[in-house]
Symmetry: C2
Subunit: 153 residues, 2 copies
DNA sequence: TTAATTCCTACTAAATTAGTAGTATATTTG
DNA sequence: CAAATATACTACTAATTTAGTAGGAATTAA
C-alpha cells in the first residue's frame, strides 16, 4: 500500500499541474483545502518535494509552490519513490530500497523472488510511463464517460 | 511491501510443498529451522493458515502440519491475501481491503485510482496464476541456469 | 512596519507489525 | 496409566513505521 504521504503528494502535484498554464505560486493552504490534506502535513511534504527538485517555491506574502517540470515529465513512479514508497513487494527486488533476504539461501535461485520480480516489472512499466498530465487526461475521459448529461451524444 | 508474516507463510508452505509426495505431518520446529523463521511466530502463522483451510495439522507426538491442497492449487495471491497483505496500492482499488478514499471527490472519475487499478490488475494477473508448484519449478530452472557446474555442456 | 507566507527542527501520537509467554489439550509410546 | 512431545490458543510486549503537530525563524509584498 502507498502511504498517505505519497497519495497526498500526488494529489498536491495534480493540483499544481491543473494550473500549469500560468504556473504562478499556489499557497499551501489553498492546495490543502482543495485536496482535503492536513495543512501542516502538506507543508512538510511539499518542502520535501522541493528538496528533490520537483517543485519550486516562493517565500513571503503572495508566495507558494509551483511545478519545476512540465506535467508530462513528472512520472508517477518518481513521485512514489521520492516520497518513500517502495514499489516492489519485497526488499530483495527493490531498486531503491534494496535489502538482502537473510533467510533465503541465494537470491539467484529464489523462486519467490523470481515471481515478485515479474510483478515489480509489470508495475513499474505502468507507473513509469504515466505522468501527471496523463492522469489529468484520464480524469477528463472518465468524467465524459460517467456523466454524458447535457451533451447531445 | 509484503509483511514478514506473509513471506514466512509462503516459505513455510513451500517447505511443505516440497515434501508433498508422502505429505505426512512436518513439525513446526523443523520448518522454522529450515526456513530461518522464529519458532513461535511461525506457530501463530501456521495456526492461522489452518483456520483458513489451507493446511491441516495433527496434534501430539509425531504431530505437525501438512498441505490440504495440491501445491498446484495454492496460489500466491491467496496466500498473500490470507496473511493480511493487500495487493493493491490504494484501498479504493482493493477487493479484499476496500475503503473509500475520503479526500477524492468521486472514485468513478479519479484519474489516480484509474492508474492504480491497472497496476493492481497487472499484479493480480501474475500472482493469481502462480502456484506453490510453479515456484518450486522456477527454483529448479534457476538452479540449473546458475550452476551448470558438473553438467556436460 | 505589518501581514502573510514558506522554512525548518523537533517533537508527539497513533497504528501496525513482529515476536513472545505460558498454559491447555491432544497423541504416541512404553 | 504416565511421560514425552506436539499443536491450540489467548493474551501480551516490544519495536518500528506512519501520521500529524508545534512553534519560531526567515522572507517578501504592500
Ligand atoms: S531472496 Fe528475497 S525472497 Fe528469496
Ligand atoms: S478514489 Fe482512491 S485515489 Fe481517488
Amino acid at each position: 500500500m502507498l502511504q498517505k504521504k505519497t497519495k497526498y503528494a500526488i494529489k498536491a502535484l495534480l493540483s499544481l499541474a491543473k494550473e500549469y498554464k500560468d504556473n504562478k505560486p499556489m499557497k499551501i493552504s489553498e492546495i490543502a483545502e482543495k485536496e482535503g490534506i492536513p495543512r501542516k502535513f502538506l507543508e512538510a511534504i511539499l518542502l520535501e518535494l522541493r528538496h528533490h527538485g520537483i517543485v519550486g517555491s516562493k517565500m513571503g506574502a503572495t508566495g507558494g509552490y509551483y511545478l519545476l517540470k512540465h506535467p508530462e515529465e513528472i512520472m508517477l513512479s518518481n513521485v512514489i519513490r521520492l516520497t518513500g514508497g517502495p514499489i516492489a513487494l519485497l526488499p530483495c527486488v527493490s531498486l531503491n530500497f534494496y535489502e538482502p533476504c537473510v533467510e533465503c539461501v541465494s537470491e539467484e535461485v529464489c523462486g519467490l523472488r523470481n515471481v515478485i520480480l515479474e510483478v515489480r516489472e509489470a508495475s513499474i512499466k505502468i507507473l513509469s510511463k504515466t505522468s501527471l498530465a496523463d492522469i489529468l487526461l484520464r480524469e477528463l475521459k472518465l468524467s465524459k464517460k460517467v456523466k454524458p448529461l447535457k451533451t447531445k451524444r
